[in-house]
């Protein structure tokens, strides 16, 4: 068994010569959910892309399940880490079942067709994400929230130990947003570790085990939500006077900009 699912040691990252992130340290244990919070352009997506080796220049050490990612082949890494991106082809004409089955790619040889195991796992992932009833629908004809869930099912079909999610709840309404977080919580109970970039600070606080706050490409704070979600830290990071209070009744945070004087 490994101690940490994801470990970053002094990681810096950027595009070409442009540096975006520097000196990031982070450790996520199996089954933990870590939030990635910070203003637009603070490097949240870049950090996820750095871990996934998606066209980012990286220095420092990145380990998943105690193995350096540079020692893993593309296929090996795809069996450990999966990703829910913000950018995908929304016009895909594949059915939902076919889309979920694509997550089985790292387990298949060339020219392979779907094995009964592939079909079984894809079925489970659809049940888990509540997309089973959509299985014969065409992906491009789904709503935005449904597409997100289907891609999450396909990410789960990779049987990941670590799931990276880039703003999974953005542009979802209250109910769908809540369902998304409940689903992620359920998955974490099964031992999947997660790193989630999000702007839903108030709601996320309820479900996150730890939070990494990024500002200008550097780690500003790291810790439990209760230690990090303070008026001082959030106001400074988001560069706006925020009023932060914990709501004991819902165990979440109320974060609003202060009245302008």
């Amino acid at each position: 068994m490994f101690l940490s699912t994801l470990r970053l040691d002094d990681v810096s990252a950027g595009y070409g010569t442009r540096s975006v992130l520097s000196g990031i340290n982070l450790s996520i244990s199996p089954g933990d959910i870590c939030g990635l919070i910070g203003p637009n352009g603070s490097g949240k997506s870049t950090l996820l892309r750095a871990i996934l080796d998606l066209g980012v220049t990286v220095s420092g050490t990145i380990e998943v399940c105690d193995i350096e990612t540079s020692d893993l082949s593309d296929n090996q890494q795809a069996r450990i880490v999966s990703y829910l991106p913000q950018n995908f082809n929304p016009f895909s004409r594949l059915t939902v079942a076919e889309t979920v089955l694509l997550g089985r790619h790292p387990y298949r040889g060339r020219w392979a067709f779907d094995s009964s195991l592939d079909l079984e796992i894809a079925g489970e992932c659809m049940l888990e994400t509540d997309t089973w009833h959509l299985r014969d629908r065409i992906f491009s004809e789904l709503s935005g929230g449904e597409k997100r869930l289907v891609l999450l099912a396909s990410a789960l079909a990779q049987e990941p130990k670590l799931l990276l999610l880039d703003e999974p709840g953005s542009s979802l309404d209250f109910r769908h947003q809540l369902n998304m977080w409940l689903l992620l919580k359920k998955l974490s109970d099964k031992g999947i570790a997660m790193l989630i970039s999000t702007h839903e600070v108030a709601l996320a606080g309820r479900y996150l085990d730890s939070v990494l706050v990024l500002a200008n490409g550097e780690a500003r704070a790291f810790g439990k939500p209760v230690d990090v979600f303070t008026t001082e830290i959030l106001s400074e990071v988001f560069d706006v006077h925020l009023h932060v209070s914990e709501d004991s009744e819902t165990r979440s945070w109320i974060i609003v900009p202060e009245m302008e004087k």
Binding site: N87, W111, A122
Partner: protein, 320 residues
């Protein structure tokens, strides 16, 4: 509980192959039989039939590849300037008046197509991140216009007989005497087809988005380059052999999606067979309409394909 994707039945494949066989027999028999009939069938029509099979499947497979890579069901082998490149180089060879054998035209078409793809690709790589697809399309369209203009310039300075020859070639021509053309086309067609057939699962992944494909273990950059080269070889060699025949690469994958769905593991083989069938049928038609004379295949195909393309455009517009 399990749910699989759509999967065409065995009956579908059998029917498709049967249709090609019947269309083939028909195309061997149709038209006037000069004497001796054996010579007409085995030296003229059989090689012509084989040429139609090769070009039809090559153009359709090439269309599938580009529709996946560009994530656009309206992309064709010609979208990236492949025809312009092939046409420019092969056309220049014709205009130069050099007595090149058929293999020269096939090679020239392939080389031109590859050059065009490399040029378009290099242009697009310089574009902004994330705007990749759009830049690729724009560069391709531009390449088509430039290629056509240069070819016209060459024509302008050529004498009448050469112009006639090039204009006739641009109309598309499946007519052959003997086995030269189909035999030379077999090599690029088979190589390109094998490259694509062994990567239909990669086509599925790339059609979802580069990031998703990459995180599932696909070496996107390398696979895309290989697939682009295969698409260029397939379309370029075809253009060199029979001239730029349009619409096949667009229509066939579209029709086949109706039957087998969008999974490229089934769509590519189905399109290959569908392309064969369409090309053989269009060729038979081109010989029937004004019999005993014949119409150029490119014109027949465009007259069939043009209206089809418009219907597709209108319908996809309504869906959104």
């Amino acid at each position: 509980m399990t749910a699989s994707g759509r999967r065409p039945s065995t009956g579908f494949w059998v029917l498709l192959i049967l249709a090609i066989v019947i269309a083939g027999v028909f195309s061997l028999m149709v038209g006037p039989m000069g004497d001796p009939p054996g010579w007409v069938v085995f030296r003229l029509r059989l090689p012509r039939f084989v040429l139609a099979l090769l070009t039809g499947s090559a153009l359709s497979i090439s269309g599938c590849v580009l529709q996946s890579l560009l994530r656009n069901d309206l992309a064709t082998p010609y979208t990236l300037g492949i025809s312009a490149g092939a046409g420019l180089v092969a056309g220049s060879v014709i205009i130069s008046g050099l007595a090149v054998p058929v293999i020269g035209l096939v090679a020239a078409g392939t080389a031109g197509a590859l050059l065009a793809v490399i040029a378009v690709y290099a242009l697009a790589s310089g574009g902004a991140r994330g705007e990749y697809g759009a830049t690729l399309l724009l560069a391709g369209v531009t390449m088509n216009l430039i290629g056509a203009a240069i070819l016209l310039l060459f024509e302008y300075f050529s004498d009448a007989s050469r112009i006639l020859e090039i204009v006739r070639w641009m109309m598309g021509d499946l007519a052959v005497i003997g086995w030269g053309k189909p035999l030379f086309l077999i090599f690029p067609a088979v190589i390109g087809t094998l490259i694509v057939f062994s990567r239909t699962d990669v086509l599925n992944q790339i059609s979802q988005g580069d990031d998703l494909a990459s995180t599932r273990g696909v070496s996107v950059r390398r696979e895309r380059n290989l697939l682009l080269i295969a698409a260029a070889v397939l379309a370029g060699s075809t253009v060199g052999a029979v001239g730029p025949v349009g619409f096949v690469g667009l229509i066939v994958p579209h029709i086949m999606r109706r039957f087998v769905g969008a999974d490229y593991r089934y769509l590519v083989p189905a399109s290959a067979l569908g392309g064969m069938l369409l090309m053989v049928l269009a060729d038979s038609l081109s010989r029937i309409v004004v019999s005993p004379a014949e119409l150029p295949i490119g014109i027949v195909m465009s007259l069939l394909g043009g209206p089809f393309f418009l219907v597709v455009l209108l319908r996809s517009g309504r869906r959104k």
